[in-house]
């Protein structure tokens, strides 16, 4: 084919396609913006609706009272709030220490057998469905013990939290400049002291953010709690503590009683109430949803703000 005939072909192509190429470009680019807006619609819809429906339910009684039988007005979800606090607290303690420590290893030894295995396990654990983790906790704790407990729920949630904590901590540790560590070692500090007193505080901001987000996620989980904590409408922290005191039980004994009883939690309560044929319960479900949503939003906003403050500190 001659050059001139190709030129002709090209010129024709240029002319013929000028408008359609421009049109396609404009259309597609606008489409991506539209799809972004589309995806955000459910976000605002859900948040808006939960605030709207659940807002009226939130009053002092809701937070401080145990549920009243259906038919009676009032009552609250204190048992669920206490339950969520206890289980999440347990989970955080159980996840935080191994998570941060393992991250130290991962950050410094990414290429050893153990390091690779650790990275692999973290990946795997982060992908396991939460209900499967619940099954595991059931097999590990509930079955041998013979009863449901807050502890079992805590273990399940801890397993879910550990990958996130390891990942964020490892990233934060990697960001700490190496000369900080070298300076500390050069001054004669042993490795462990360097890690705890120098590296960890330097990475602390990010670590805390990571832990906060992991907690927020765990607090919203339902599936792993279904057959570990089961739920317990009659759980009354106050009574356990006061009866424990009157019977001269030690703190350990009281804690033991708390951790080993079946317990409710906010997400579980939501799940139960949502399916009930009683409108009051459904209404309370919206209230619980609002509490959870506020929790999640607040944590995320806090984490963002924290990151911004850190960034400003570094710049200024």
């Amino acid at each position: 084919m001659t050059t001139t005939s190709y030129s002709e072909l090209l010129k024709k192509g240029v002319e013929r396609r000028r408008v359609s190429r421009k049109g396609t470009n404009g259309f597609m680019l606008t489409l991506t913006g539209a799809l972004t807006v589309l995806a955000l619609i459910p976000l605002f819809w859900i948040i808006g609706y939960v605030f709207y429906k659940g807002g009226s339910t939130l009053n002092l009684a809701f937070f401080t009272q145990l549920p009243k039988p259906v038919g009676m007005t009032g009552g609250g979800v204190l048992h669920a709030i206490e339950g969520s606090l206890i289980v999440t607290f347990l989970a955080t303690i159980m996840a935080f220490i191994p998570g941060v420590l393992a991250a130290f290893y991962a950050a410094r030894n990414p290429n050893t057998v153990l390091g690779i295995g650790l990275r692999f396990s973290t990946d795997v654990l982060s992908g396991v469905p939460s209900i499967v983790v619940g099954l595991f906790a059931y097999a590990l704790i509930v079955k041998p013990q013979g009863h449901y407990s807050a502890l079992a729920g805590g273990v399940a949630l801890a397993i879910l939290m550990v990958p996130t904590i390891i990942r964020t901590t490892e990233e934060m540790l990697k960001l700490v400049p190496t000369n900080l560590r070298e300076a500390s070692l050069a001054l004669g500090a042993p490795e462990w002291k360097t890690s705890i007193s120098v590296l960890l505080p330097a990475a602390m901001d990010g670590v805390i953010t990571g832990v906060l987000l992991a907690i927020a996620r765990a607090a919203g989980e339902t599936a792993p709690l279904l057959f570990t904590t089961l739920g317990n409408e009659r759980f009354d922290l106050g009574t356990i503590i006061s009866s424990g005191v009157t019977n001269h039980q030690s703190i350990i004994q009281i804690l033991g009683r708390i951790f080993s009883s079946p317990i409710d939690s906010l997400p579980l309560t939501l799940w139960k109430y949502a399916g009930m044929p009683y409108p009051e319960r459904v209404q309370q479900a919206w209230g619980v949803a609002l509490i959870l949503l506020i929790l999640v939003l607040a944590t995320n906003i806090l984490a963002r703000v924290w990151i911004e403050i850190r960034k400003r500190k570094l710049r200024g």
Binding site: Y6, L9, L10, K22
Partner: protein, 276 residues
């Protein structure tokens, strides 16, 4: 003042009136801003059709910025804006209803680091023509072969057109990029230090190539290598930054004059290697 310099200068000394009359691209009072910062001030130059024009100057004097204004690649930087005009065949490329996409087809570019797509050699060159609906196999075969021949790469790759473009050596990749640019039949080719990332042999080949290409295309090349500018170009523009760190054109003339009888002392200092 005539100087005896050890640089080999291209032997087109003076041009006939006819040759001088063909101006392909003209800039008028061109200034380029990045936000508030004025990177280029009042650039005026006329690029002659089917001649090679070199832009030289010390690092950071705005050579690349100037080059990139010719095909509006500066538009990609959000804060960039332009004052003045650049005319291609008499029409301002920064004008109101200008189709940037078409300008970029007519004014092609070869970059400092070769950047072939991770596609086959064939598909790299055929990318442009396909944009314009050229789909038939024999048409594409033809333009691919012709472009690769023009960029002196055909013989080396004709039996492996379906191998990845990334599998070629640096010099070959650069010639692939040149072929890719040629496939859409540009009128002007901009070259931003095209050989600076290459070995000396590849560099020489690219320079020979430019000589051939200049028969059909207008070439504007930015180079920090003065000897290269002297060897290759017909016209040379000397740039430097002023007190406000803005790039200006100090002197613009035939290569012969710039390198043997520069008018401005700063040009003389630069080309004799006293600084820069």
């Amino acid at each position: 003042m005539e100087m005896n310099m050890n640089i080999e200068v291209k032997q087109n000394k003076d041009f006939t009136v006819n040759e001088m009359a063909e101006i392909k691209v003209r800039t008028s009072q061109l200034s380029v801003y990045y936000g508030k910062f004025r990177a280029l001030t009042d650039i005026n130059m006329e690029i002659h059709d089917r001649k090679i024009t070199a832009i030289i100057g010390p690092s950071g004097c705005g050579k690349s910025t100037l080059l990139r204004s010719f095909n509006r690649m500066n538009d990609l930087t959000p804060s960039a804006h332009v004052e003045g005009k650049i005319e291609l065949d008499g029409e301002d490329i920064y004008g109101k209803n200008v189709d940037v996409v078409d300008i970029r087809r007519r004014i092609g570019m070869v970059f400092q680091r070769p950047n072939p797509f991770p596609k086959s050699i064939y598909d790299n060159v055929a990318y442009g023509p396909r944009l314009y609906g050229i789909r038939q196999r024999n048409h594409l075969d033809g333009i691919v072969e012709s472009s690769l021949k023009q960029s002196a790469l055909w013989d080396e790759v004709k039996d492996k057109l379906h191998q990845s473009g990334m599998s070629l050596s640096g010099g070959q990749q650069q010639r692939l990029c040149i072929a890719r640019a040629l496939a859409v039949q540009p009128e002007v080719i901009l070259m931003d230090e095209p050989a600076s990332a290459l070995d000396p042999i590849s560099t020489l080949r690219i320079e020979e190539l430019m000589h051939d290409l200049a028969k059909s295309y207008t070439i504007i090349i930015v180079t920090h290598n003065m000897q290269q500018a002297a060897r290759v170009s017909d016209f040379t523009a000397m740039m430097m930054i002023d007190e406000t760190r803005s790039g200006r054109m100090i002197e613009y003339n035939t290569t012969n004059i710039i390198f043997t009888r520069p008018q401005d002392k700063r040009t003389e200092d630069y080309v004799t290697g006293r600084f820069g």
